[in-house]
Symmetry: C2
Subunit: 259 residues, 2 copies
């Protein structure tokens, strides 16, 4: 099932997608919502963020080929972290499918994209076990962790390198019923493939992150956990269009402009 959020007049509503159509929902996917009303063409609606996370978690360094690339290009040891220590991104940086990625005018460095699988938490949970961890996941969407590499090296925190407004596109919608370790993530710049990797190559699995994180932290409905990316990370510049595709979910597409 695919849950989305879209603009309906002056309201943002949840909807359930069926093929090329969408039907407005009563309630949200987090409280047993269900579809109602007439189907309308999906192409007629303006998609919004599929959820607004109470907390926005990010695995960060979680694939070996990306660590090796980062060690060569950004510094760092290239070694895998010893434990599944979760990190964070900030909500101000989220934009929906179709919205612009805006590179600030004073960015003088390289800006790159990191296409990622993102898990959407469906309910309040703590102390998950390997056996029940995935039961809290409502579904999966796609994230693009846009990164300004000069600021990533120079700043004390990742605040502007990875959390500048518009630097975290997420969408297009939430798809349930997937195996998070059996997906392929492809990034295209202006229609040309620039990166492709398999989520089976994660260093720490989603189950591992969920179990470790919830030893200390309660997860809530709508929280998202982005799982990191593998390999090289393509450069973007104003005028480009970035697409991240996970075929079982769809395509997250965002144009790039200069601020």
């Amino acid at each position: 099932m695919n849950w989305c959020r879209y603009q309906d007049g002056d309201q943002v509503v949840y909807g359930i997608i069926d093929g090329d159509t969408v039907r407005a929902a009563i309630g949200s996917p987090f409280e047993g919502g269900f579809a109602t009303g007439e189907p309308r063409p999906l192409s007629d609606v303006s998609l919004r963020l599929p959820c607004i996370p109470p907390t926005f978690y990010a695995a960060g360094a979680n694939y070996r080929a990306h660590l090796a690339w980062a060690a060569e290009n950004l510094g760092g040891s290239g070694k895998a972290p010893p434990r599944a220590d979760i990190g964070y991104r900030a909500n101000n940086s989220l934009v929906a499918h179709g919205e612009n990625i805006v590179i600030p005018r004073d960015s003088s460095g390289v800006v790159q994209v990191e296409g990622e699988l993102a898990a959407v938490i469906g309910k309040t949970v703590k102390h998950l076990t390997p056996e029940n961890a995935l039961d809290c996941v409502l579904g999966y969407t796609i994230g693009n962790d846009v990164s300004e590499r000069t600021w990533q090296s120079s700043d004390r925190t990742l605040w502007r390198a990875k959390n500048t407004d518009t630097f975290n596109p997420m969408g297009p919608w939430i798809t349930s019923g997937l195996d998070p370790e059996a997906l392929e993530v492809t990034t295209r710049i202006n229609g040309v493939e620039a990166s492709r990797y398999q989520t089976k190559d994660m260093i720490f699995s989603l189950v591992n992150f969920l179990v470790e994180t919830t030893k200390y932290v309660t997860l809530y409905a709508g929280d998202v956990m982005w799982m990191g990316c593998d390999g090289e990370t393509p450069v973007i510049k104003a005028g480009d269009v970035v697409e991240i595709e996970i075929p079982e979910i769809g395509v997250l597409r965002n144009p790039v402009v200069r601020g």
Copy 2:
């Protein structure tokens, strides 16, 4: 004016405090809310978090004596950061005035408290200037950035060291009309003073953080920015009661228990 949030039957409502009484509000402080109904004794209501931040910002290292202390006790250079690079905390860790700080059973390290001034943003803003920056601040509350020092040293991120559930008490309410650089922050453990410092000693002022952050980041109503703490940070253990006082605001009091 003091704005609070409290439990009223099965609802959490905003209220306006007048001396020892509180009156329920229509609307929130972020949308021109105003007091209504009869005053009731403040001691009769159960306070909740004064707001739920869309994003929870934290200045981190922002006082010289704390940097010197941290260099000696946690490692680090002791040097002031070159710029006002903001950091983050996570909403799961917030608890209200009066709620327990729960030290996880498997914490084998020292747990300490950091009493802080916290600014509450009142409206959507970007590109603030030194002249207008403080106009976006609705008021101020008190934060206690509880820190597990072993995890702070061992982990790749601050996730459990500073964001374990209950590790960020905030309250008791929001007070408007204050000068953020003219306040004194006192920490008491079981009624005994353990730390005292002046907010005039901040390395980067709130104005500086607001101007720098909003070059890249939009702030929203309800966002909070915690300003760091100075000097030593008192140790807590199960059975203690921690009080952080800023006289112009009030006292944030939380008991400590073991998980």
